[in-house]
Point group: C2
Chain length 577, copies 2
């Protein structure tokens, strides 16, 4: 513990600033530097000088109590006293994920504040909480995808111990916790990594900044940096898995792709720790290789987000066709995603003006997360408005029911379950005035070509934009919110009660629909979901005699094979056994 | 035939210059333009004006009789009268490839001139001739990797019909012909494609220029362009396969990689034409996926060049360790490549400062081409000197024998078989003075850091550099050349006579060696190759009683299990049955 090591192959000298002392570090093997000193103790703050320039925080800083530009703090992970025993997460096949953003999930926006709402999630039937990125980023608030100290929990959310308290409290309640990690780029502010070593490359580009060097000179250590990062969150913070952001921007032409290496190392860690760990990718590739086991030539990632299902569902419910929604809109597309996961599986995409995707073979439905909303699909709208602003309560319930009766792992976005009113806007708090202006202007520009007046688009740098995005838990007591929560709760109960809903078998998903009269039915084992998206009442049938279980309307119809459904209504029935 | 079509989604107007007429073209679907006119006939020259700028040659020009900047000529492929009947190439498992460069293979440097030397190749035992790129490039001479009119045979080599005559003459002699195609970049001079459509992307970079857009907007047509190009050479010119240049610089993150699409389309063409077609990749990735069948998750390329085997062999023979040779040098490395193809199969490479490669599983030896020399390994040396300049005739024979007794497809570089004296230098004939100077200076700079005086490095733009690289066929009649040819001929006869040499089974390759005393033996079925690379005579043994077949020394030793070999000598023996 009295040692500090840093990989810094670029500078010719590395010094440690420790309190008021500046100490020369000794070169070690392969570009590493080291120093031992009695004052290197938990709680001590330090930074580096490289070739006399600095101070710079540690690329592997465990905590940045004063933000991205400040010193790093020594943390002793072994000192934390865990209360919950060894935790085993539910398998993904029977999981239900809940995505939340620490800063807006509760009024205080802290790790420990979130603990207060865990019982609500347990009651709802959630099995896995997924935290949006908590790695130290520029400013006090933000979405977190511009993290630069990937080993440090964001200081404004609390301390490393606070984050452990949150994970511990979740485990004590039977909840698994996943963490969103960003390995495709680093944020623009406070990113000093390039001064230490070849973390970045110009051979590839990403929309958000320089690509990470995963296959060029020095990449062995860069890959080590990221794998060690994943290992730290899973081992030292006891997360149960990671959600890997935008893997389509992780460029690596090595014969062993970084993600395959990561999945392999996490498998080893899983065996070592004796508890189940999962990796979930956000992927825009529609490439089945991502979630194919390594033995079968894939990367061995456990599951991926399914934007195709989201887009197909969103367009059917809202009628929107702007941007990437142009590629979707028919019930046929929705039906295809329900039974084949990818809608674009080698088809031409007009939005991309390119062929997109490949056909998944022998992949289970639980390799994909299905959702009606997520932080991106809400927050990337100019007004950050939830889908509940655009459609009737009936349609909203149809959307929720389609997610919960899908063969995928259902995922909810914070507040969705109680019809939360606040938007989820894009908010930042960059201190550098140039960067702040660039972000504000960029957001205005991004939406000025649409129907929006740029002046109406909330300014990401305005503190009110952040404040407005916080959930209002008082809503829970009010009528429409309360009844929506009851509806979601019934759906999650249903999913738990009928195992065919989470059997993950895509082949057995039976979807019928009529594009013209806009109805769709989904049958999975004994359960049939009937939904009328048309403009007039119509009679929909199940393939068997059945008893109504859940309806969007207050009055339950009778046991039958066919029911008259009014517009924007749905009925879930169970076969009479 | 009276129609011209061109894909040009970028300009708002496209005109056809046909003789002295300038004609407006009509927009068709998906960015295509078309025009019909009676004067569009075989032999007619034409070019395009885009938004009034031009004239530009056709991106799919079939012939550029006046070079890369001139007009394109209409060619009727059906008019050629083929003499040889339908040709079936030997399978790759029993192939022997001969790489040649049209411009330097014969004094005239033409397609038809090469016909004169085909009998020599047949006599040698060659099964597949591989032409270095013949696609129209800037200047009269050059290596060909800077082609810009990918559908047009280089005008200085002859006409489209001349190229067909060469392929036809080869087929008539039982020789298959492969063509080198460059799909990772286009040359710097005469490249007008970017004016027509989004052929290039800035999302990736290559060492030689902008990367080809294989996964962005418009990529469907760009992929079509390249696949159609491959199909044209195989169908209209009756090539038997393609060697795909530097696939490590073909960047594509689509779920269906461009190479997998290409391999699939060539499979379909093969079925359609009823003759065997092969794809061979130059790959620096050491990624088994490249040559793994598509059914098993690979790209389905038939075979790849094996630089690891070359480098391991070259360093053992020459003792060189500069540049990428730093990663090789031990007999253990050579032994590993002989039995595992890749030396770097997930190991750390010091030269790359990165982990490199992955382990091939269930791949046959004939998925790899093995060679002592190729155009790059000779031509990228400052003096373009062949390995015969660096080592004794005995070592040279050891190298040749190791290639011919390897489990790989042996490949020779033009003249290697007769100890050709001329170097193979880097030569260009760019007309643009700035580009010419850049190429000359670049070559000087490239080698100035080594032991070379930049003034000694031949200037690529000097016509003498090209002339000096031409083979001198008069050498064939002279003693050392003649006897080397006899030696090579005996090796190729041996390989044909003993099928175990081409069984491709890596598991059955038995290699023994002693790093200190520098001997190596390779046993494959009834054949054992014994080589003494040490400084004194030593006794080497076969694992069986055997009869000597081929030796680098004039006096043949007796039937035995062990033989005394002088330094730099080799002996190939066959088990007594």
């Amino acid at each position: 513990m009295n040692e500090i090591r840093v990989w810094a192959p670029k500078p010719r000298t590395v010094e440690l600033q420790l309190g008021s002392q500046r100490l020369e570090m000794r070169p070690a093997e392969q570009g590493w530097w080291r120093i031992e000193h009695d004052a290197i103790r938990p709680g001590a703050d330090y930074s580096f000088f490289l070739d006399d320039a600095g101070p710079f925080p540690d690329p592997r800083s465990q905590f940045q109590p004063h933000g991205v530009h400040g010193p790093s703090r020594v943390v002793d992970h072994d000192a934390f006293r865990w209360i919950a025993g060894r935790f085993q997460a539910r398998p993904l096949s029977s999981a239900m994920v809940y995505e939340l953003h620490i800063g807006t999930f509760t009024p205080g926006g802290t790790f420990t504040g979130a603990i207060d709402r865990l019982d609500h999630l347990v009651h709802l039937g959630v099995t896995h909480v997924e935290l949006m990125p908590v790695q130290e980023f520029s400013g006090r608030w933000g979405w977190g995808y511009d993290g630069v100290d990937l080993f440090a929990p964001h200081h404004a959310y609390g301390s490393p111990d606070d984050l452990k308290r949150l994970v511990d409290a979740a485990h004590a309640r039977g909840l698994a916790v996943l963490l969103d990690v960003v390995y495709n780029h680093l944020g623009p502010a406070g990113n000093y990594l390039d001064r230490f070593g070849p973390y970045f490359t110009t051979r590839y580009s990403t929309p958000w900044g320089p690509a990470v060097n995963l296959d060029g000179a020095g990449s062995t250590e860069v890959r080590r940096f990221l794998c060690d990062n994943a290992i730290m969150w899973l081992r030292d913070y006891r997360f149960d898995g990671l959600r890997i952001d935008a893997i389509h921007a992780i460029h690596d032409s090595s014969a062993i792709h970084f993600l395959a290496q990561l999945a392999h190392e996490i498998d080893q860690l899983e065996a070592h720790l004796g508890r189940s760990l999962v990796l979930i990718a956000e992927s825009d590739l529609n490439d089945p290789r991502v979630v194919t086991p390594r033995e079968a030539g894939g990367y061995g990632i456990d599951a991926q987000w399914s934007d195709d299902f989201h887009h197909a569902l969103h367009t059917v419910l809202t009628g929107e066709r702007a941007g990437y929604y142009a590629d979707f809109g028919s019930l046929a597309d929705l039906a295809k995603t329900l039974s084949h996961a990818y809608c674009y599986d080698g088809r031409y995409s007009a939005y991309r003006d390119a062929m997109h995707g490949a056909r998944p073979v022998n992949l289970d439905g639980w390799r994909f997360l299905g959702y009606l909303q997520n932080h991106d699909q809400v927050g990337n709208r100019p007004m950050g408005d939830r889908i509940s602003r655009s459609i009737s309560a009936g349609r909203l319930k149809i959307g929720a029911a389609l997610v919960m009766c899908s063969p995928f792992i259902p995922m909810l976005f914070q507040g969705e379950e109680f019809l939360a009113s606040p938007p989820f806007l894009y908010f930042t708090q960059h201190e550098d005035p140039d960067l702040a202006r660039a972000v504000s202007d960029g957001r205005r520009r991004e939406f000025s070509s649409f129907k929006w007046n740029p002046d109406d688009v909330p300014d990401p740098q305005d503190p009110a934009t952040f404040q407005r995005s916080k959930l209002d838990w008082n809503e829970l007591a009010r009528a429409p919110h309360k009844s929506m929560l009851i509806f979601y709760k019934r759906l999650t109960d249903l999913r738990r009660e009928f195992p065919e809903l989470s059997d993950g078998c895509l082949e057995r998903v039976q979807v019928d629909f009529d594009e013209a009269s806009r109805w769709i039915t989904v049958t999975r084992g004994r359960i049939a979901l009937l939904a009328n998206l048309g403009e007039s009442a119509q009679t929909l049938s199940a393939p068997f005699e059945a008893t109504p279980l859940i309806s969007s309307e207050p009055d339950f119809p009778e046991r039958s094979r066919a029911w008259l459904l009014s517009p924007d209504s749905l009925l879930i029935v169970a076969a009479v056994s």
